[in-house]
């Protein structure tokens, strides 16, 4: 299937999938930190490798990435991304423990563990919502956490499919808690299905490629 030739109907379907998943994830995050969480309308990005880096602020940027492999009938990857400050704010708010720190010097295992658990909850609710909607079995793997350069973290998800294409279709969703001046949290969920999974997703929704 050709990536650049998605029909409007297919784009709408992907956007709706992102919407449903993100709505669920936002609710979960709201319960986790006991605060209001908003979501943005998802965007569907058909991008080459370098444009993926631009989407998250450049290959050099320090980010917190929690990666899940999607297992089941429509394999792929899903990333939950935060800045270091946002991830720390999330951990502090969900644990009510101001002493937790994600700074690279401290290597605080409790903070990292809390963050992995937050990733489990948010990504789990994201995937289960879209899995229910399209009626395809999709299970997240255990979380893989890394605090490093965006380029190094994101190529992991791209390289798996890079022998098939120079482009990736990414369902990009942002959930955010506006917070006060210093502790707002913007999380970015990137869904990167394998090229074959798109065919399955569209078939499950009754959308055919030539429509």
């Amino acid at each position: 299937m050709s990536y650049q030739k998605l029909t409007n109907l297919q784009l709408d379907a992907l956007r709706e999938i992102g919407n449903i998943g993100a709505g669920n994830a936002a609710t979960s995050m709201s319960q986790l930190i006991q605060k209001r969480v908003d979501m943005e309308v998802p965007s569907i990005n058909i991008v080459d490798f370098n444009e993926v880096m631009d989407m998250v602020g450049g290959a050099d940027r320090l980010i917190v990435g929690i990666l899940f492999q999607i297992q089941g009938d429509a394999p792929g990857m899903v990333y939950l991304l935060f800045s270091l400050e946002e991830a720390e704010s999330l951990v502090v708010q969900m644990t009510n423990n101001n002493n937790l720190s994600l700074s690279l010097e401290t290597n605080d295992e409790l903070a990292l563990s809390a963050l992995r658990e937050a990733g489990n909850i948010l990504t789990g609710s994201y995937l289960s919502a879209l899995s229910d909607f399209i009626n395809i079995n999709m299970q997240p793997s255990v979380p893989h956490l890394s605090v490093d350069m965006a380029g190094a973290i994101l190529t992991v998800g791209l390289v798996e499919y890079s022998s098939m294409s120079d482009y990736a279709i990414i369902v990009n969703t942002k959930i955010n808690n506006p917070g006060d001046d210093y502790n707002g949290i913007n999380g970015q969920l990137l869904l990167v299905p394998s090229p074959d999974s798109f065919t399955k997703i569209f078939q499950a929704l009754g959308i055919h490629e030539n429509e």
Binding site: N50, D60, V147, G151, I153, T155, S162, S163
Partner: protein
């Protein structure tokens, strides 16, 4: 008449060439490998940001030659020769090839960093290009800069700071 030095960026699955005083840079290498082939005498260098080891892995109608170790290194060598560099002047440095996450899966993609490094070394050996230095492996990202004036490769990481190889 000294020329203002500029930094030439190399994207993912991309390659580029400079002559001193310009500098080559590629950012956020994880499992990818940044390979530099250069001539100290002519102060010329080419850098590739390689994503996969072997172009025979490609399942596309048209292969992106900058993406694979074998094809990208061939282009680096041929282009430098066509710019008047002698083959026996050529030397190489490389960095990257990390394994960012440890997955529990059968997919051979998980060892892609190591396989990229092996493929680059094999291809350089095939062209009889000596490897002067390398900084590979680990589980962290690298941003690298090569200055053909000094032929030093600067490697920057988040936790381990900067060093030259």
């Amino acid at each position: 008449m000294s020329k203002q030095a500029s930094i030439v960026k190399v994207g993912i699955a991309d390659l580029n060439f400079v002559t001193a005083p310009d500098i080559l840079r590629t950012s956020g290498l994880g499992s990818c490998v940044g390979v530099i082939i250069y001539s100290q005498a002519k102060k010329m260098a080419g850098m590739a940001h390689i994503m996969l080891p072997d172009s025979s892995m490609g399942k596309q109608a048209t292969v992106n030659k900058f993406k694979y170790a074998d094809t990208a290194i061939d282009i680096l060598v041929q282009t430098l020769l066509s710019k008047g560099v002698w083959k026996k002047e050529l030397k190489a440095k490389l960095a990257g090839g990390a394994q960012m996450f440890s997955f529990q899966t059968n997919s051979d993609i998980i060892r892609i960093g190591k396989r990229n490094v092996d493929a680059v070394l094999e291809k350089l050996n095939h062209h009889h290009i000596p490897v002067v230095s390398q900084d590979v492996g680990g589980n962290f990202g690298r941003t690298i800069e090569f200055d053909p004036q000094t032929c030093k490769l600067k490697v920057r990481t988040i936790t381990k700071g900067e060093h030259y190889i």
